[in-house]
Symmetry: C2
Subunit: 337 residues, 2 copies
Amino acid sequence: MGKEKTTRAVTILDVAAAAEVSKSTVSLVLKNSPLIPAETAERVREAARKIGYVYNSRAGELRGKTSKTIGVIVNDLTNPFFAEILVGVERKLVEAGYIVLMAHTNEDVERQNTVLRTMREQGAAGLVLCPAYGTPKTLTKEVESWGMPLVVMVRTLGPGKYDFAGADNERGIYAATRHLLDAGHTRIGFLGGRTGVVLEQRLKGFRAALAERDIAFDEDLLVAAQPTRKGGHETMSALLDKKPRPTAAVCYNDVVAFGALSALGERGLRAGQDFALMGFDNVQDAAHSNPPLSTIDIRPGELGEHAAAILLDRIQTPARARQTYLADPQLVLRQSG
Amino acid sequence: MGKEKTTRAVTILDVAAAAEVSKSTVSLVLKNSPLIPAETAERVREAARKIGYVYNSRAGELRGKTSKTIGVIVNDLTNPFFAEILVGVERKLVEAGYIVLMAHTNEDVERQNTVLRTMREQGAAGLVLCPAYGTPKTLTKEVESWGMPLVVMVRTLGPGKYDFAGADNERGIYAATRHLLDAGHTRIGFLGGRTGVVLEQRLKGFRAALAERDIAFDEDLLVAAQPTRKGGHETMSALLDKKPRPTAAVCYNDVVAFGALSALGERGLRAGQDFALMGFDNVQDAAHSNPPLSTIDIRPGELGEHAAAILLDRIQTPARARQTYLADPQLVLRQSG
DNA sequence: CTGAAAGCGCTTACAG
DNA sequence: CTGAAAGCGCTTACAG
C-alpha cells in the first residue's frame, strides 16, 4: 500500500505514536525485552506492521556500539575449495544472526588492504581472512591493534598468536604419498603449487614419506605451477615427459589433480590403471571427476564452519585463549590412485 | 602505538581538536571537498593519521542517508557457474566503491527471505539476486515497494518489469543441439535439470533444433536430475542403458556434463570418440576436464559484471528504463563433442 | 573559507 | 512497567 515519499523514513517514533507508547517502549519491544507486558508488545508489533516500519540496524548499531556484520575475505572463489569454505563460513555466521561482508582478493594484497580498510570503516564485528599470497606477517598484529577479532584461514601468517583454522597439510600429503608408496610406486611426482606456507607444509609431508622409504627426493619430479586446473594440466604434461616416466603423482590440491586428469586423458592414459594420482582437499567435484579422484579429505565446508565458530567465540569472549582448528586429513580412495 | 581503551572511539571531533579546526572542516576534508584549501586539508589529514582516526561509515551513512553496501544473494556457490558470477559482481561493485553483503540461500526460499530482510534492515543500497527455486513472482514488486533497486540474475521471475541479467538459454541450447545434429547424431539425450524457467528455456531450444530436422522429441531421452555432478552422473548412466543407445547428449549445464563425463569413463567410453557431449555455461573448468568439454559459452564472470553494472546504473538513475542483459551464447568446441 | 546548530534513527541508563 | 533525556559519529545547510 501507501505511496510513500522517499524523504521521511518510518521510525520508531511513528510506531510509538501509532501504538500510543513512548519510543523507548518500542525499542524494548523490538529487542523482545521481558520488561514489556505481552499485550503492550503485541500492540506495538501490530502498529509497526501496519505502518510498514522497518528496523534500521545502522542506527541501532551506531548507538549501541554493536555490529552484526562480519567481513570474510577469500582469495580465489574459482577454486571450489574456497567456495565450499565460504559456504561453510556463511552458513554458520547467518545461523548466529550475523551477515557477511564478503570480498574477493584474487591474491592481490593491495586489494586486500582496500577491503580490509572498508570493512573496518563499516564497523565489522570481526574478520575471517584467507590471506592473499604476499600478505605481511604483521597483518595479524595490525588487525589486533584495531581491536578487531580475526581468524586466519587456510594459510598461516607466521608464528604469532592468532586464531586459525586450516588443515594438517603435512600429515595429509604424507598419507597420500604413503599410499602411493604402499602400492609400489617409487617414481612419484609432486604437481602444482608455486609458493606459500601451504606448499611448504605439503612438500614437507611428501619428503617425509619418501625419506621413510629411503627414496631419494628427486627435484626433477617436483613440477611447480599455479594451483589451478591449467597448472595441473601443464605439470602433468611435463611430468609425463620425464625419463623414466614416473608412475604416480601427488597433487598440490584437487584442482591441480583435475587438470592432471585432463592431461593424462589427452595421452590416452587413465588414472587408476596407467598412472596413480592423488589429490588434496576432497572438494565435492572429486567424487565425480573422470575418473573419480582419490584424495585427502579435509572437509572444506566444515573447515569454514569451524573458522566461523572460532570467530564467534572470540567475539563473545575476547579474552579467551587462542584457538586453532586443524582439519584431520583422511585418505579417501576412489579410482585415480 | 597507543593502548587505547575500548570505550571512547576517535572521532572527527578529536581530529578537529588536533588540527585546530572545526569538525565540519574535518568532515569536508574527508570527502575531499574543494572548499578546503590544500594546506588545511593536509594538516587535517596529518592530524587524523597521527591520532589514529578511522572513518565510521555507519554514522556517515546514517546521517547522509546513503549506503555503500550492496546485497548479493546467490543460491549455489558449489556450482562454479555461480561462483564465477559472484566474482564478477563483486569485482565490479568493489571497483565502484561499494562493498558486498553476501548471502547463500542454498535454494531455500525461507532463508532467502531472512537475508532479504536483514539486508533491508542493514540499509543496502541495492540488491543483486539470483532467486532460489520457488521464489514467488511477486518478489520483484515487493522489493520495489521497499524502494530498493534490484537486479534479478540468471533466473527470470515472471514477466514483470525488473532489471535482469542472464543468458539466452533457448538460443544457446539450440546451437548446442544443432551442432550435434550437424555431426549426424539423431538419438540425442537431454541430461539434468529438474525445474525452473532456465530448464524450460533450454528445453525449448532443444526441441526447436530437433523439430527443425524433423526428429521426433523422445521423452525417454530427457532424463531429469539435480543440476549437479551427481545428477550428471546418474542421468548419463541412465541414458546409456536406453535401447538403442543414444550417441550424443546435451547437458543442462557444465556441471552436469562433468558428471556425465565421469559416467562415460566408468563404462570405458570417451566423450568425443564414443559419445558426443555438450555442456552449457563454459565455466573455467570446462577447458581442462577429461576430456575438455565442448559447451556453450555465456561468460559467467561477465554476466556478473553486467548485473552489477545495471544495478549501479539504476542506483544512479532510479527513473531509467528497465535494462536487460542477455549473454549471447557462443558455441565453443573442444573435445567432448 | 570555517564555525555553530540541527538531526539521521536508534539505545540506554535513570526516574517515577 | 513506561517516559524524558542524552548521545552514538557523522553531514549538511546556513551564517558570517
